[in-house]
Symmetry: C2
Subunit: 315 residues, 2 copies
């Protein structure tokens, strides 16, 4: 029997790295993941990534042959293929394509994770009929992939789409990027943790989140508490939705997209987060845009759009 | 002798409307202007515009024949040709092309003023070799024209590029657009007037600007006072530069342009305004962008880029 071709799609997140093996119809025939471990240096991460790919390729080798590797990662410069000092990883600037290229003969491509997700949504998801839309990834950090006239916006130096590092609070929280008051410092899994303890300091509260130390606190715990009507957790989601909704209204004034597609672990919170996002978004839009811009959440499993989009670079 | 062709370029500003007659090489062979009078209804303005065009065309008729009219105006929807409830004019939504079309047989085109200015800079100004840049017009209001891969960004509904109506102060000043805290409410001729009296309320001051009532106060007076080292006026320009510099740094994170081109009456203040803009811009950029994005001021006379750009629509 002839072996089928698969492409390896890798989505490097601040917390987990997802690896998927994608056949020619866009089906993920196998997927796995490992902890990214943000404190590791890049070499250690690469060693883990290679062993994961090699082991899975070996397991699949009776039916499939791997024909290329597409990587979605934070802070990728599309023009030169480097990952430039990602805020949530202790890597500095590295050229993954060059380093992995020494070990693989197959083509290797790299793209910003949110841009990969936008490609994935255009190819297989909610954006199949859209020409102007923006993907917002809400994970450990906040990424954005901007599509204009059906093309990913790369910008003049290959670094466009860093909405996570635009200001929402002047002289606000320290962000991992070196600036202050960035959207990502408020709206992301980490931002939700920080908002939780900020609001806890400001309101009378003796609920479940008061029993967890900051280093153990997760956005998932806040989400779970909100689903049990915990007042602090609900206030955190309201604040988070307010900040994101207002910022995305500003993005509409600038770019006039037809839709936003939200995705990532934080979006699993569901309507308790989406409702305040939509409400604040709509009421801060310029009047000419009201009621015209869709605020969607991706219908694919977490990581899937980026994995599919990364492999689309190899076609 | 054969008559030469000219195109009429009109730049409708919140304070003045400039009309230029442009030959085929982009030379403005004749120009004139009249007060826009923001409180007038659109019909009254149109009457004045038509009589101005007709009188000048008649005067030029021994040597030139007018072949079309290009109009640059605020809040233009490029896709349907309407001006949509401009914040600085008492017009509601009007379709100038349709109304003027009843009186002229020549082609009539309309485009957002800042987009027209961006076209003018691409055709004849500082952006002749640029593919990704942004024009910021600082007049009565604040307009922006965004160029991506050599094309004006219109967006999914024809209304992209309204940077003047993105937030700089949450729950801040009332803006003419109906929202609060917009960039335009702080950084524009009107914004500078408002900042002047705000800061006057907050610092000990008995200089020249204290002798002028708000209705008589102009951005030009503030500029003149700053050039005489008036401490309030200098504080106003510092504040204005800080707000615009920070916002444009955010725009870089989103769009990654190679340059901004500033223009409009407010820019005539020169280095006393440009220096704080550049300083705050540079220090609020994401590290990967520092030192890479030019902050230029247009080298053409006020209104000229928009007039030239508006006529380029007719070619």
């Amino acid at each position: 029997m002839d072996k089928q071709t698969v492409l390896v799609g890798v989505d490097i997140g601040g917390t987990n790295t997802e690896v998927g093996f994608v056949d020619e119809s866009g089906n993920v025939v196998k997927s796995t993941s490992f902890a990214t471990n943000a404190h590791d240096v890049a070499q250690k991460f690469l060693h883990k990534l290679k062993s994961t790919i090699d082991e899975e390729c070996a397991r699949l080798s009776d039916r499939y042959v791997c024909r290329g590797i597409g990587i979605a990662a934070p802070n990728v410069n599309y023009l030169n293929g480097t990952i430039e000092a990602p805020a949530n990883l202790n890597w500095g600037t590295v050229n993954l394509v060059e380093i992995l290229g020494d070990d693989y003969e197959q083509p290797i491509r790299i793209i910003n994770d949110a841009n990969a997700a936008a490609l994935g949504e255009m190819g297989f998801g909610l954006a199949q009929d859209m020409k102007n839309f923006i993907v917002i990834t809400l994970g450990t950090g906040l990424g954005s992939g901007i599509v204009i006239n059906g093309e990913i916006l790369h910008g003049s130096s290959g670094m466009a789409g860093e909405l996570g590092h635009t200001t929402v609070v002047v002289d606000g929280r320290q962000c991992g990027c070196g600036k202050t008051g960035c959207l990502e410092a408020y709206v992301s899994a980490n931002g939700i943790r920080r908002t939780t303890i900020e609001l806890m300091s400001q309101m009378p509260y003796d609920g479940v989140l008061a029993t967890v130390s900051f280093d153990k606190l997760t956005a998932k715990m806040v989400s779970d508490a909100a689903h049990k009507a915990d007042p602090l957790a609900l206030a955190v989601l309201e604040r988070t939705g307010s900040i994101l909704g207002r910022k995305l209204a500003d993005v509409v004034a600038c770019l006039d997209p037809e839709a936003f597609i939200l995705m990532g672990g934080v979006v699993n919170t569901g309507e308790l987060l989406l409702e305040p996002i939509r409400r604040h978004f709509e009421c801060h839009l310029l009047p000419v845009f009201r009621g015209k811009v869709a605020m969607l959440s991706s219908e694919m499993p977490a990581g899937r759009p980026a994995i599919l989009g990364a492999t689309m670079l190899l076609k």
